[in-house]
């Protein structure tokens, strides 16, 4: 039994780390623009594909210390490439709508998501592409559970990225500007901050993190396919809400929480209900938790307690 629980815990933490990285992108964008960026899930997918082709191009250099350097170079390149894509999309599809209703940029994001997914499907590949694992398949036995090197790497790398982001946002001038703009763009402008730059930066970092999440995800599951963004994106979005949308530590917590909820939900529900509620109810479980959290604590676990008046940021229409 201990082995079973530990195994589920390890699985939960790994997928949770990935959700957390993607959730960061959603939460940062929402925090500053109050925009649910539907296109973010596709950044995740594009990131996986970009990394795939970079790795394929540098496959001859794999292995050994050079291989490790190449791997990190691929990470950086993917981050930058998709980050730039994010900045471009913001400039083209969201910035013109900044003063329009709240729904318009959200639906524009939807259109962008459709475009990205179809572009990849039509011009890159319809088939799932096999993604090589980053690390050799070494595994450890911990109390009867199988923990792979890959899983440890993913969790460690994701946590490192999150800590880096937290440091950046709390200590550097740019980071503080971002936080200022998140809190109140008008006041930030009054203080002389040009809000375009922090916003572009958010659209560089958020999608970049999503792309790295896509790379880690692709390496873990061994596959990258044009349709992989939608569901994972939706789940990461739920994670961001659970933790408190707009809150960076909230997104991190929410990601891990969702990972735990999902894994234990799918694993334990059948056991606890003697098969009455099967593992297919995992998603119902996750959505139900989301609905309950929103009804009783809309700000999520780490968001500031939101009063009814505080919920409306700007005119809807």
């Amino acid at each position: 039994m201990t082995g079973f629980l530990i195994q589920q815990l390890v699985n939960a933490l790994t997928i949770g780390a990935i959700y957390a990285l993607i959730a960061l992108g959603y939460t940062m964008v929402y925090g500053v623009l109050r925009l649910i960026n539907f296109a973010h899930s596709e950044m995740f997918m594009v990131g996986g594909h970009v990394a795939f082709f970079l790795l394929a191009a540098t496959a001859s250099l794999a292995g050994g210390p050079i291989g490790v350097l190449v791997m990190f170079a691929v990470f950086v390149a993917t981050f930058v490439a998709v980050g730039l894509l994010g900045v471009g999309i913001e400039a083209a599809a969201y910035r013109p709508l900044r003063h329009a209703s709240r729904l318009a940029p959200m639906l524009s994001a939807l259109g962008v998501a459709i475009i990205l997914q179809n572009v990849v499907m039509l011009f890159v590949s319809r088939r799932p592409l096999p993604f090589p694992p980053f690390l050799p398949a070494v595994s450890f036995k911990v109390f009867g559970a199988v923990v792979t090197l890959n899983q440890i790497f993913i969790v460690a790398f994701a946590v490192a990225l999150m800590l880096a982001l937290a440091w950046f946002v709390n200590t550097t001038t740019l980071g503080v500007k971002i936080r200022a703009v998140s809190e109140n763009p008008q006041t930030a402008q009054l203080l002389g901050i040009n809000i375009n730059m922090p916003i572009s930066l958010i659209f560089f970092i958020g999608p970049g993190l999503g792309a790295l999440a896509g790379t880690l995800y692709a390496s873990y599951y061994g596959i990258v396919v044009f349709s992989m963004g939608f569901i994972v994106g939706l789940k990461a979005f739920i994670a961001a809400i659970l933790g408190g949308i707009g809150s960076i530590p909230g997104a991190m917590l929410g990601g891990f929480m969702l990972g735990l909820l999902e894994t234990f939900g799918a694993g334990l529900l059948p056991m606890l209900t003697h098969g009455l509620i099967g593992s297919e109810y995992r998603d119902v479980f996750a959505f139900s938790v989301l609905v309950l959290v929103l009804i009783f604590r809309p700000a999520g676990f780490l968001g500031e307690a939101v009063t009814e008046e505080g919920m409306v940021y700007k005119r809807d229409f």
Binding site: R126, V146, G267
Partner: protein, 372 residues
């Protein structure tokens, strides 16, 4: 003078209106832009191959065949709209539609109303439940796909227990249900019957549960990429049970997704004999690769077969081929096709469906049963 003019005009009109020189169109609708885009596109590619061959051989009495490809996104709403569109277009004389059973069932109502001969690739038994005389299914249905592997597992492998997982979609659940019924009827025990979501990538929760059951066999009813990912995780988590899957898994991507070591020994059901079993199949595989620059998809051969059935019926219908004559000729089909003999019973089902079980060995699919 007037009589000559009249004859000239009538003669000209007759020539112009004569359909003898118009193209014959065959419509097809399948998922081309959703998660199943790979299956739909390669399926229609197979049809295109058959049509290209027929055209190269002179077409139907000199008339060229054209394949009109449409995208239904696996959505019954779009499937029925397309069905009506095809119906209204008089130059379309037959359709190969749809791919998903959930789309074929409502669209068959529309095709039946307008009398279009419909050849379908959907395997759910309910598809032919309405008894439409214009609907034909030249492939085995789920009863076969779920039944034969169960018999093989019980008799040849001597398995006693199985765990069944399906992806909660119409096809996956359908075959899984049939497999379960047959396995239990044959005296086996089903240790668990669980569902996962088709878009899931992480099956570790379910597999961890399966590990505690330790079944002889794990049957996965579902489609790619789920089946490949499931197999990979099954082996990664240390389970050694024999793995069974249905025909969406019959493509090289299964081996690349799961990894050759993990995929070895998996049993996949498929309706065509091995690509090297007879010269027709060898030619098919070669031609497909040449035309489309990739390996045939799991349903390419099926698509080729379906188009061939229609083309053959059209040829037999002779000149002045219409929708009604094609339906009549399809009834009488007796074709030695790419996947075996095609002959329909009075419900439009295949008279003698065949199913083959392949084992993954050395990065390829090797025929396991029936051994000829």
């Amino acid at each position: 003078m007037i009589r000559k003019l009249l004859v000239a005009v009538l003669g000209g009109a007759a020539l112009a209106a004569s359909p003898a020189f118009a193209d014959i169109k065959i419509g097809t609708a399948g998922p081309l832009s959703n998660a199943e885009a790979l299956f739909g596109t390669t399926w229609q590619n197979g049809m295109q191959l058959a049509i290209n061959e027929a055209n190269a051989a002179g077409g139907i009495n000199g008339q060229k065949l054209v394949l009109v490809r449409q995208d239904d996104q696996g959505d019954p709403k779009q499937g029925t709209l397309l069905a009506q569109k095809f119906c209204d277009d008089d130059s379309i004389l037959a359709v190969i539609a749809n791919f998903n059973s959930g789309v074929t069932i409502p669209s068959s109502d529309v095709y039946n109303r307008c009398g279009l001969p419909q050849v379908t690739n959907s395997s759910n038994p309910k598809v032919t439940a309405a008894g439409y005389d214009n609907l034909f299914r030249p492939i085995a249905n789920d009863f076969m796909q779920g039944g034969a592997p169960a018999a093989y597992a019980l008799q040849t492998l001597g398995a006693k227990t199985t765990a069944i997982v399906h992806d909660k979609q119409a096809f996956g659940e359908g075959v899984a249900t049939v497999f379960r019924q047959n396995f239990e009827k044959g005296g086996g025990k089903v240790t668990s019957y669980s569902g996962v979501t088709a878009t899931d990538v992480d099956f570790s929760a379910v597999i961890t549960q399966l590990k505690t059951e330790n079944p002889d066999i794990v049957y996965y009813g579902g489609t790619m990429p789920g089946v490949g990912l499931f197999l990979k995780q099954l082996r990664d988590l240390g389970m050694k049970s024999t793995f069974f899957a249905a025909d969406p898994a019959f493509l090289p991507d299964l081996i690349t997704t799961a990894g050759p070591a993990n995929a070895a020994g998996a049993i996949v059901s498929f309706q065509a004999p091995p690509y090297d079993a007879n010269p027709k199949l060898v030619k098919f595989k070669g031609d497909y690769k040449k035309s489309f620059n990739e390996e045939p998809g799991p349903y390419s051969a099926y698509g080729y077969n379906e188009a061939a059935v229609i083309i053959e019926a059209m040829k037999r219908a002779g000149s002045g081929v219409t929708r009604e004559t094609i339906v009549k000729e399809l009834r009488k089909t007796k074709l030695d096709g790419l996947m075996g003999t095609v002959e329909f019973d009075d419900k439009g089902e295949l008279k003698s469906p065949t199913l083959f079980l392949y084992k993954v060995k050395d990065n390829d699919f090797v025929l396991e049963w029936p051994k000829s």
